[in-house]
């Protein structure tokens, strides 16, 4: 495999995390325009911990996930009372605030005789933990795939359990769920915290893959893309968001067939697809059909 293919596959893996976080919130019945903020928080926090304080990546990733989860939990406290577009706009406003804060943060220290750390709009250079540990691109792809597989396993296990049923009940009809004795608010806050942590994990891995991040990476485009990935892939299974990312980044960008027309092709495909399958390719019905076929 050449470096280009490795890079594309790694990107597919990285963006799957943020797509999965949007998917998790969609299952809970909430549409977030702000998952890019937690991806960004993870990227900045993880990068600062490894590049400025010399933490090893695994610990930095755990800390960043905790921070991302806490951030979305706290954001959820006032915003999860809002419905539909109001929730989407509140998350968008919060995410844009986070992006501007990234632009305003100048936090540099001298590391090995060189200045390192976030430098406002100039971005954050030198997140070199991967290079310092001599981890080659295939090795990093392996790490990303392993973590993604782990997350997927948790999702698939949870979706077939009581927890998954509870989450879908809350997403489908919160009033009915409340009547059935489900604590709707607790479920939604839990989903929000998990989604924040998941997006932050993607962000940490993204920052260390690119070695350079800047505030622009975390604008609304990323947020709406992750929502689109989750929806076109399908809301029936956690493989859906992966399929969405794979279709866009993996097939359309990597094939280079539609060079220069990629977004026109992809945009048209998505709009037409949603006419026929408003809950995505792998929606609940498709998943049930597949399950029956496979068993």
């Amino acid at each position: 495999m050449d470096d280009y293919a490795l890079g594309v596959l790694t990107n597919v893996g990285l963006f799957s995390f943020v797509a999965l976080s949007a998917y998790l919130l969609l299952l809970a019945g909430e549409m977030s325009f702000g998952q890019q903020a937690f991806f960004g928080i993870g990227a900045y926090a993880g990068g600062i911990l490894t590049a400025l304080y010399g933490w090893p990546l695994p610990f930095a990733a755990i800390a960043a996930m905790a921070l991302g989860g806490l951030a979305q939990f706290l954001l959820g406290l006032p915003t999860l009372r809002l419905r539909g577009l109001y929730f989407a706009m509140a998350t968008l406003a919060a995410a844009e605030m986070a992006r501007i804060v990234f632009e305003l943060v100048h936090f540099q220290r001298e590391v090995d005789g060189q200045l390192a750390g976030p430098d406002g709009t100039q971005g954050f250079r030198g997140i070199r933990w991967i290079l310092e540990q001599d981890i080659e691109p295939p090795g990093y792809l392996g790490i990303v795939c392993l973590l993604l597989a782990l997350v997927l396993a948790v999702f698939l296990r949870a979706e077939r359990s009581r927890l998954g049923a509870t989450l879908r009940a809350v997403g489908e009809d919160p009033e009915l769920a409340a009547v059935l004795g489900i604590d709707v608010r607790r479920v939604k806050l839990g989903a929000a915290a998990a989604a924040g942590a998941l997006a932050a994990l993607g962000g940490v891995l993204y920052a260390h893959h690119n070695t350079y991040i800047e505030p622009r990476n975390f604008d609304i485009m990323l947020g709406v893309h992750s929502l689109a990935y989750a929806l076109i892939g399908g809301l029936g299974t956690a493989f859906g968001p992966l399929l969405g990312v794979l279709l866009d980044i993996g097939v359309l960008e990597a094939s280079r067939v539609f060079q220069g027309y990629r977004m026109i092709v992809f945009g048209g495909l998505v709009a037409v697809l949603l006419v026929f399958r408003p809950r995505g390719l792998l929606d609940e019905k498709a998943v049930q059909w597949l399950r029956r076929r496979l068993s």
Partner: protein, 290 residues
């Protein structure tokens, strides 16, 4: 100090008038569809790129360019309505919104394919300098934008409350099922409202690019974000709210930019929206939004 305050207020009103025009179209679509059209700004951008292309190739005059911009925006709006909103009527709001985002991507790439440079000049609305009001100045473009916003608001009010078409629109907004039962062609009304809102957006976009004298592919995102922000601030689906929200946004931006700088300007605008939403102020969150 006081002089700066007054001058900033004048500048803010000019910018706010543009936001008000954008918010009017947004709120009109939201009122009948209960859906946010993310492609609203990009459709406006498409219209303005048609005008810029016409100008670059034929050097047409101002009025013709405005007509091209409006026609382009209506055409793009019709495409968005057919592909993103007509199929999902009564269906999934999220699917409609994601579909409108997908078309946004199309418009943006199309613009950069046809006109690949990042920035194109656009003929100015008015060649002379700003008007002097004592020690203060007011741009003629701002005045034109304010006049257009007020005229659009009045025209919409008249259409909604004094015509048969307006009656049908209000019926669709209040009771879609009853409207349909009493013989109103609901899909037809929706299409026409969409066209009206897109035309309004085309006017707004034309005035904005003509007063900035340039056009970039950022216009799409800019229009959607400012229009959404102004619409939310004024309360979803309300015409006077859209105008007030737009003007308020312009004033807040002008003053916070002067006091704190451009990055803080946007931060303060978003923070205000966030706090108002989180506090669930009555005029903003009373309407149901799926």
């Amino acid at each position: 100090m006081l002089a700066d305050l007054i001058q900033n207020t004048l500048d803010g009103l000019g910018a706010g008038a543009a936001y008000a025009l954008l918010a009017l179209g947004f709120t009109l679509i939201f009122g009948v569809l209960r859906r946010a059209n993310l492609s609203y700004g990009p459709a406006i951008m498409f219209g303005c790129y048609c005008a810029a292309w016409t100008h670059a190739n034929f050097g047409a005059g101002l009025l013709l360019l405005a007509l091209v911009a409006v026609a382009g925006a209506v055409l793009a709006g019709a495409y968005v309505e057919r592909l993103c909103f007509a199929p999902h009527r009564g269906g999934s709001a999220i699917a409609a919104m994601v579909a409108s985002f997908a078309l946004w991507m199309q418009f943006e790439e199309l613009a950069t394919l046809v006109m690949p440079r990042h920035l194109y000049a656009f003929p100015a609305l008015y060649e002379g300098g700003p008007l002097a009001l004592g020690p203060f100045t007011l741009r003629v473009e701002s005045l034109a934008m304010l006049a257009a916003a007020l005229a659009a608001c009045a025209l919409l009010w008249w259409t909604l409350y004094r015509t048969r078409f307006g009656l049908a629109v209000r019926a669709v907004i209040e009771q879609p099922a009853a409207a349909s039962l009493s013989g109103i062609d609901v899909p037809g009304v929706l299409v026409r409202v969409f066209a009206l809102a897109s035309a309004l957006g085309g006017v707004a976009g034309y005035l904005v690019v003509a007063s900035h004298e340039q056009i970039t592919p950022m216009l799409g995102m800019w229009s959607t974000m400012k229009g959404l922000l102004a619409m939310m601030l004024g309360g979803l689906g309300s015409l006077p709210g859209a105008v007030l929200g737009g003007l308020a946004l312009g004033l807040i931006e002008a003053h916070s930019q002067w006091f704190f700088g451009p990055q803080w300007r946007d931060l303060i605008a978003y923070a205000l929206l966030f706090v108002l939403l989180a506090a669930r102020v009555p005029w903003m969150t009373t309407r149901s939004a799926s």
